[in-house]
């Protein structure tokens, strides 16, 4: 390749990186600006008087902490349930051949296609009815447990598919070798395959966690009381009919997105492997 062309490509690549990173930079830098610096005729590309004021406002807000707790509970419950159930199913479809296996796999893929909007109405009505039938003993609408039920609708198909890819990635010959050496099949699985799948389990858990942490549409439909808000809903309270307070909004957004970004950095490479193994090699 000619030198000039190569330099041109590199310059273009760096430009692309800058353009893609800019919105994130703008969020973080806005979060550190005072109101006067935010609302100035000429935007400040670097905060001239950085302040922690917006962050203090978020952290000093008790509703933020309440929403954080709700998000945490909903996310952890979703991940634990989805992973436990999905892992068993993934092992079954990756390691056994049985009648109905293909149908099961196809329905998992179809489930991945169903848009939330088609599920949210019946889930809402059914939860209401169960709640009424129990005379309010089971609080499901406008409650975190109800959210977990709704979250499983997208978390489960994803988790089954991703984990299946990871289990397929471990050659069954390894297990067989252990069985020839005298392990039972269960032992062989636990001692040989399981340790090799751990990175996949971690990647899938974290990605499921991110999906639940970020969920907006279902939550918005199912939750109405402010004390039941999750973080994405909480964030939208900065948007009012009088206008949006972008300063604390950007600080809140930074705080909510930061753990996602950090976790994502860790699992991204692993996850791409598991997903393409499942999706492409089929």
């Amino acid at each position: 390749m000619r030198r000039a062309v190569r330099i041109g490509y590199s310059a273009l690549g760096l430009l692309v990186a800058a353009v893609w990173a800019f919105p994130i930079y703008w969020m973080v830098s806005t979060a550190f600006k005072s109101g006067r610096d935010m609302y100035s005729a000429t935007p400040q590309f670097v905060p001239l008087h950085p302040t922690g004021h917006n962050f203090a406002e978020v952290f000093g807000d008790s509703t933020f902490w309440q929403a954080a707790v709700n998000s945490l509970i909903a996310t952890v419950l979703t991940v634990v349930l989805a992973m436990a159930v999905a892992f068993a199913a993934a092992v079954a479809v990756a390691r056994f051949r049985f009648f109905g296996r293909r149908t099961f796999l196809m329905s998992i893929l179809i489930m991945k296609m169903v848009p939330s909007i088609a599920l949210v109405i019946p889930i809402f009505l059914t939860l209401t009815e169960i709640q009424d039938a129990s005379l309010g003993a089971l609080q499901l609408t406008d409650a975190v447990p109800g959210l977990v039920i709704a979250y499983l609708a997208f978390a489960l198909p994803f988790a089954v598919w991703a984990l299946r890819g990871f289990v397929l990635g471990v050659p069954p010959e390894l297990e067989e070798a252990a069985m020839i050496d005298g392990c039972s099949q269960v032992q062989a699985f636990r001692r040989v395959t399981l340790p090799l799948i751990v990175p996949g389990l971690v990647a899938t858990s974290i990605f499921t966690m991110i999906l639940a942490w970020n969920e907006y549409l279902l939550t918005y439909f199912l939750i109405s009381s402010p004390e039941k808000y999750t973080l994405p809903l909480w964030l939208s309270h900065f948007v009012t009919t009088e206008g949006t307070s972008f300063g604390p909004l950007m600080a809140g957004a930074t705080i909510i997105a930061a753990p996602v970004a950090i976790f994502f950095m860790f699992v991204q490479r692993n996850l791409a492997r598991g997903l393409t193994a499942g999706a492409v090699r089929g």
Binding site: W26, I108, P115, T244, F246
Partner: protein, 314 residues
């Protein structure tokens, strides 16, 4: 892939030991026990709701039914005929299709273009690009939408400043507002497409490329003759997923319009949602949702074909 699932002992060992056979064969119940929980949960949280939304779409389910003890009456195809007769619905369908085409077209061409670019830059540039793209990928849509709302703010938005537009309001004309929404979708979708396509590009067999070059093939011939066919399965899946996601686009438009998108901003998902959430017209909204799923099936026919191929390969 099919060989992986054969009773592996018979395949890989010349003389299977009795123990291995005993452990492998007589367990027809185990796989069913393993999928049972997943089956039960997915039936409860997806299968049942899907069935119910279909039933609902044939029912009159409105405010009156919320406060009445009698079950909702079946009204046959009334909700569907109402859809067919509603001119608003059809403009929403057309808008959704156009938006999907633009969003998928843009994110695929930019995404694949960047993947090809990543192949052609030195490692450190690729590292910086990957980092920046992954950061964008990780940002939740409700956050990215708020960032873009702030960047396109009329009086103090950085975009107006950079483009020298003064105090331009991006949202009075829905076309411009939807262009901003498209920008958010593309910004968020490209990282996934680029990273996946680049991963596929690195899998293209180098020997093939070398051999073709030795035989005198030019860059263009190598690309269309070897590279493209090799990454085609990945491209098909990524395109199909983009179609599915963009067709049911909700957050980016709904949040951008502060939870009250005017009619000219509504896509199918938003239209169904507004009918259910604000109008309490659950029957009608369910019919819209069913039609949305059916349309989605039509536009993602490629994905489904790929699924069937996958099923056959199993």
């Amino acid at each position: 892939m099919s060989t992986l699932d054969e009773p592996a002992v018979a395949r890989s060992l010349p003389a299977p030991t009795p123990r291995a056979i005993r452990n492998r064969r007589p367990r027809p119940r185990l796989p069913y026990l393993l999928i049972l929980p997943a089956l039960a949960v997915s039936l409860a949280v997806i299968g049942f709701p899907l069935g119910r939304v279909i039933v609902l779409s044939f029912q009159q389910w409105g405010v009156a039914q919320i406060f009445s003890d009698a079950g909702p009456p079946f009204v046959g195809l009334k909700n569907y005929t109402r859809i067919l007769e509603d001119p608003v619905f059809w403009t929403v369908v057309v808008r959704t299709l156009i938006l999907t085409a633009v969003m998928v077209g843009l994110s695929m061409s930019v995404g694949v273009g960047l993947a090809l670019l990543m192949e052609r830059v030195p490692g450190w540039v690729r590292g910086i690009m990957t980092f920046s793209l992954i950061m964008a990928w990780a940002v939740p849509t409700f956050v990215s939408t708020q960032i873009f709302a702030w960047m396109t703010e009329q009086n103090f938005g950085v975009l107006n400043y950079v483009l020298g537009l003064g105090q331009h309001n991006w949202y009075t004309d829905a076309k411009q507002g939807l262009a901003v929404a498209t920008l958010i979708v593309v910004w968020g979708a490209v990282p996934f497409i680029t990273v996946t396509t680049y991963a596929a590009l690195t899998q293209v067999p180098a020997e093939l490329v070398e051999a073709a070059k030795l035989d005198g093939a030019g860059g263009r011939q190598v690309f269309f003759g070897i590279t493209l066919p090799s990454i085609r399965p990945v491209l098909v899946i990524v395109t199909a997923l983009s179609i599915i996601w963009d067709f049911s686009v909700f957050n980016q438009i709904y949040i951008l319009r502060n939870g009250a998108p005017s009619p000219e901003y509504q896509t199918l998902a938003i239209y169904a949602y507004m009918q259910a959430y604000q109008g309490h017209e659950y029957g009608y909204a369910s019919a819209v949702a069913v039609v949305t799923v059916l349309l989605l099936l039509v536009v993602s026919v490629f994905y489904i074909r790929q699924l069937i191929k996958t099923g056959e390969a199993e």
